[in-house]
């Protein structure tokens, strides 16, 4: 939000440096932008930043074209990030209030004439408040006999200095009050209002209104409107209607200065997609107390600028008063909470300056009421069951809200750094987190680079490759960034395949990538943590002597990973999987046939090598940790012996291995596959598998006879069950 420094200077003494000029009415302006002025601007900016109003830039507004701009004429400005809890700082007077406290100066509010007004409860008369929740207060003031025309130089300059355009004296006067006091005002052409009456009510379903921007809008009962006896004439707190607009011919007008409910205005602005300076203020919370004052300020300007006569009394209809919020602050509690020693005079100075009007209520104890312009930021305490407050009693502010006000202005630098006086360590446990770390380190150790990808992709990616857990349709975004990011992923592999393609396009001869992340199975199903990897081509350069990745190479990565985890081994069952080359796909099965992952060769990827992928659901691994024990090795060396079995090609290794396991032999301590051979001597449709067996009798040495006996017994058994005759060499 843009602020003008010379405008701020109307309400608070900014000190030397800005080369301010003052007109007879006491309004300030800056003639030239000098280096001193810029230094001053950044000093003030730092002050504001230090109290929580972050100044993000120092724009300079120049006037009257290039010639004078080049000579340095203009108004120095501030670009302030006003957080959404500070609607009171969305105007010059509000910012000046903060600045006055920060500079240890005093605020000079403008002097405003006391035009009379007549209180009403809004149930009848010229102003009827039909929705006291949505509009608790409405000040209607009539100004007659004015002449719409251009604004004087000072007013145009004021508005232009904050990037606004001057329109005419009437509109400019309302805008000036908006940017000065923060109260949005609206002027209706009184001649277009039958009986000069207004009602504030909910719109009727299907009711229509052409707004000031010329657009016809369809309304509904969620939207609050200003209406005459018949129809809606303005969208309350958002935008006026075209039919009641002030025109060059207007002479009499009704000036609205009302308080609208935050939520009601926010709902209307969102539904209509209409965001205005007025709606921005109301939806953050306007100042209930300023309605009449702002109206009088604007009326006085209209009298001065457009020759209007302010009619008395105005109507000040109040259908509901906000519950006041009382506060109490104990200096000792403040010191205990902040760890900063703040003296009593600083507490009093800050709270008085900010409008909290502190009253001493004992030694180091103050109390008062939260000013109405801060109401939105001081939502009172919820009633505590033990202390039922009488109806109509003021609300009670949280002391923390007061601590913040004081601390903002005395500064965090006053707080001495300490560490929480808590012994020991926190009691929380998180096995999933530890598991993830092991997976990441294991795969990095196996030569894979860790990647991280967006958790969303397109629908086609969900269909293209295997998904282990589908719980109905994938979760779809209501407002996706684009169709490419339309749904939440149920597999990490599509993004990894895309990354493999990216690397291949950039000349990589091979890829080794993995990711650990969440999968979203759909519906209300819990998120699943998974790990996936893709590999293809060689892992290094030709010098390093790597073989290009193949299917068992990829499977071996997962075997090695599982060996690092308290889980597995899992059975790999051949499966036809979508997007996987037929004959290469497999599912990982945990005991009970629970599918915990898959692997296979990616059927279609735009890479110049065979690409393999696998995925493992970590959330399903953590369920049953495998006991971790070692077997003490024998002091004697083992005896190894090979056995070659020629068997049909379609005999799965897992079946063969299970058969070996099922033929118990106390001397056999292990076996592993050594080689597979197809070719001369092996009939078509068969394969010769060589297995190395390891024998050890523990405490004594084995004889060759014993080993031979074990081997031939096993060989006979395997031959009988699985063997095919070898062809005689020709």
């Amino acid at each position: 939000m843009r602020f003008s420094l010379s405008w701020l200077a109307d309400y608070v003494d900014l000190g030397e440096g800005l080369e301010l000029e003052t007109d007879p009415a006491g309004r300030h302006s800056t003639r030239r932008i000098t280096e001193a002025a810029q230094r001053k601007a950044s000093q003030i900016g730092e002050k504001l930043t230090s109290v929580g109003l972050a100044v993000e830039g120092y724009p300079v507004q120049t006037f009257d074209g290039g010639g004078r701009a080049a000579s340095g004429a203009g108004e120095p400005g501030l670009e302030v990030e006003v957080t959404s809890n500070r609607p009171d700082c969305m105007c010059h007077l509000g910012l000046a209030r903060e600045l006055a406290v920060a500079l240890e100066s005093t605020l000079r509010p403008p002097s405003i004439p006391l035009y009379g007004s007549l209180s009403s409860d809004g149930s009848s008369g010229a102003v009827v408040l039909e929705d006291p929740e949505g509009c608790p207060r409405y000040v209607a003031r009539v100004i007659r006999g004015l002449k719409v025309g251009p604004s004087p130089e000072w007013l145009r300059r004021r508005l232009e200095s904050i990037g606004q355009r001057s329109i005419n004296n009437v509109v400019d006067a309302t805008n000036f009050v908006l940017w000065e006091m923060g109260q949005p005002l609206h002027a209706f052409d009184l001649g277009t209002l039958p009986g000069g009456e207004v009602r504030v009510r909910r719109a009727r379903a299907g009711e229509r209104l052409v707004t000031l921007d010329g657009k016809e809008r369809e309304l509904d009962p969620e939207v609050l409107v200003i209406a005459d006896r018949e129809r809606a004439i303005a969208i309350a707190g958002v935008m006026g209607g075209l039919a009641t607009e002030v025109t060059a011919a207007t002479t009499d007008l009704l000036l609205e200065s009302a308080h609208f409910d935050q939520r009601r205005i926010r709902i209307a602005a969102k539904r209509l997609g209409l965001h205005t300076d007025a709606s921005h203020r109301f939806e953050r919370g306007a100042d209930f107390g300023v309605c009449d004052e702002a109206s009088r300020r604007c009326a006085a300007l209209l009298a001065e600028l457009a020759g209007g006569v302010v009619e008395e009394p105005a109507v000040d209809a109040v259908a509901r008063r906000p519950r006041p919020v009382a506060w109490r602050l104990a200096g000792a509690d403040l010191a205990r909470f902040t760890g900063a020693d703040v003296d009593a005079s600083s507490i009093e100075r800050v709270l008085s300056g900010l409008g909290f009007a502190p009253r001493a209520a004992g030694d180091g104890l103050w109390e008062g009421e939260v000013p109405p312009w801060r109401a939105a930021d001081f939502e009172p305490r919820r009633p505590r069951p033990a202390t039922a407050a009488p109806a109509g009693a003021p609300g009670e502010a949280y002391p923390q809200d007061l601590y913040e006000e004081v601390l903002r202005h005395v500064g965090f630098a006053r707080v001495a750094p300490t560490l929480p006086g808590l012994g020991g360590v926190d009691a929380g446990v998180n096995p999933g987190h530890a598991l993830r770390g092991r997976v990441q380190r294991a795969l990095a150790g196996l030569g894979f680079a860790e990647g991280i990808h967006y958790a969303f992709h397109d629908q086609a990616a969900d269909d293209r490759l295997p998904v282990v857990v589908r719980a109905g349709a994938p979760l779809a975004l209501a407002n996706p960034l684009s169709e490419r990011y339309a749904i939440l992923r149920r597999s990490l592999v599509p993004n990894l395949v895309a990354a493999a393609e990216f690397n291949a396009r950039h000349g990589a001869p091979g890829v080794r990538l993995f990711e650990v992340g969440r999968l979203f199975p759909g519906g209300a199903a819990e998120e699943i943590e998974a790990v996936a990897a893709v590999a293809g081509g060689p892992a290094g350069g030709p010098w390093d002597g790597p073989a290009p990745c193949d299917l068992l190479g990829l499977k071996g990565i997962f075997d090695a990973l599982l060996a690092e985890l308290p889980a597995g081994p899992f059975e790999a069952r051949a499966s036809e999987l979508p997007g996987v080359t037929p004959g290469t796909g497999a599912q990982w099965l945990a005991p009970g046939n629970l599918v915990v992952g898959w692997f296979g060769r990616v059927a279609s990827a735009d890479v110049p090598f065979e690409l393999f992928a696998g995925e493992l659901l970590l959330s399903r691994l953590a369920v049953e940790p495998r006991p971790r024990r070692v077997v003490a090795p024998s002091r004697l060396p083992s005896v190894r012996a090979d056995l070659t079995l020629t068997h049909p090609l379609d005999l799965a290794w897992s079946v063969l291995a299970a058969a070996i396991d099922a033929a118990p032999d106390p001397r056999r301590v292990g076996f592993r596959i050594k080689d597979r051979y197809r070719g001369e001597g092996v009939p078509a449709g068969a394969v010769a598998t060589t297995i190395t067996f390891e024998y050890n009798a523990g405490e004594r040495s084995l004889t060759q006879d014993e080993v031979n006996e074990s081997q031939s017994r096993l060989a006979a058994e395997l031959e009988r069950r699985f063997g095919v005759a070898r062809e005689e060499p020709r």
Binding site: N85, R284, T338, A340, Y398, F412, D426, N430, L446
Partner: protein
């Protein structure tokens, strides 16, 4: 055996002839090119049974002047033995040299590297942060990435229909839930699940409807939360100083500026002295000497009440840090998007 032929037939050689034989022997020994030739020449001259020295020694008793002949023979024998020994040593040296040249490797050639992988820069930064907070007694808590409105907003004191929500650029799901916009919902989940004292950090992926050169729709945060009796603003400040001076340079300055978050009161933005210029001002810090690093504050009493904790008894602090910017800073990664496109040429350079 041509050299021996002149003295065969039983004639006793003269001392001059023995002198000449010594010269002959020395020449033959020196000419032995390898171990086999040396062995042959040794057997010829010094063989125990049929060597020339043995034959000549047998002639000593028949010599005219036995003493003179004996002396001449001894000279011959010493010269032959010395020559054999010298040649033996030479051959041994040559053999060692030959073996060395066969095994020699150019040690300046690159080693054959087994494949080595890498962890993502965000993973490494998080590991560092976890290490720091583990040392301060914190544990790690996690929560879902798809969240309910009440955990992401409502219980964190974002009122319904309030502009504070606009700043979050939320990605909504069609079923009414949303992708968490920050890791703060894990605070609430932790406070609802456990009783104080609580010290946790909550790392994770978060999402915003924001995609441009500086913003990614997905990024990473780590949230810290400490709630117990008597936790102060000073504890927040001290913890952040301890944390940031470990994560960054040990002389890093830490500055707290008041700010606003709905779920903390008071709230602050936390700046550290610019890691490039050490506070003197440079383009990276827009000349300010400071870099905004995280948001923090004391847990808002309304949030404590939402989690059934009495704000008069308990207090606490929370902070949230973006991991991606820290990672980019640490490794000089210029563009946030390159964190998420898995270019192995970049990823494999990253070392912890």
């Amino acid at each position: 055996m041509s050299g021996a032929g002149t003295t065969s037939g039983g004639a006793v050689p003269t001392p001059e002839e023995l002198e000449r034989l010594a010269g002959e022997a020395e020449a033959a020994i020196a000419a032995a090119g390898d171990r086999a030739a040396w062995e042959a020449v040794r057997v010829h001259w010094a063989g125990a049974r049929q060597g020339r020295l043995r034959e000549l020694q047998a002639l000593i008793p028949r010599a005219a002047d036995r003493k003179m002949f004996g002396q001449a023979f001894n000279r011959l024998k010493s010269r032959v033995e010395a020559a054999l020994e010298a040649r033996d040593a030479e051959l041994a040296r040559a053999e060692i040299a030959a073996r060395a040249s066969e095994a020699r490797v150019d040690v300046t050639l690159p080693g054959r590297r087994p494949p080595t992988g890498s962890l993502h820069p965000v993973t490494l930064v998080l590991a560092e942060i976890e290490e720091i907070f583990r040392g301060l007694g914190y544990s790690v808590a996690e929560g879902p990435e798809v969240e309910e409105d009440r955990f992401n907003f409502g219980l964190l004191n974002f009122p319904d229909d309030h502009p504070a929500r606009d700043a979050q650029d939320t990605l909504f799901l069609e079923d009414g839930r949303l992708l968490r916009t920050h890791t703060s919902p894990v605070q609430v989940r932790t406070l609802l699940a456990r009783r104080p004292p609580i010290r946790v950090i909550c790392p994770g992926r978060v999402y915003r409807n924001d995609n441009d050169l500086r913003h990614s729709p997905m990024f990473h945060q780590v949230e810290g939360l400490c709630v117990a009796e008597g936790i102060t603003v000073g504890d927040l400040k001290g913890t952040l100083e301890a944390f940031l001076t470990r994560l960054f340079a040990s002389d890093t300055k830490v500055r707290l500026r008041p700010s606003y978050f709905p779920f903390t009161e008071p709230s602050c933005e936390v700046d550290i002295s610019c890691q490039l210029c050490h506070g003197t001002g440079c383009p990276t810090c827009s000349g300010t000497g400071w870099m905004e690093i995280l948001g923090a504050g004391m847990v808002d009493p309304r949030v404590l009440e939402n989690c059934d904790l009495d704000p008069d008894r308990y207090s606490g602090f929370a902070f949230g840090l973006g991991l991606d910017r820290v990672a980019m800073n640490k490794w000089g990664i210029p563009n946030i998007r390159s964190l998420f496109e898995s270019d192995e040429r970049l990823l494999r350079q990253v070392r912890g």
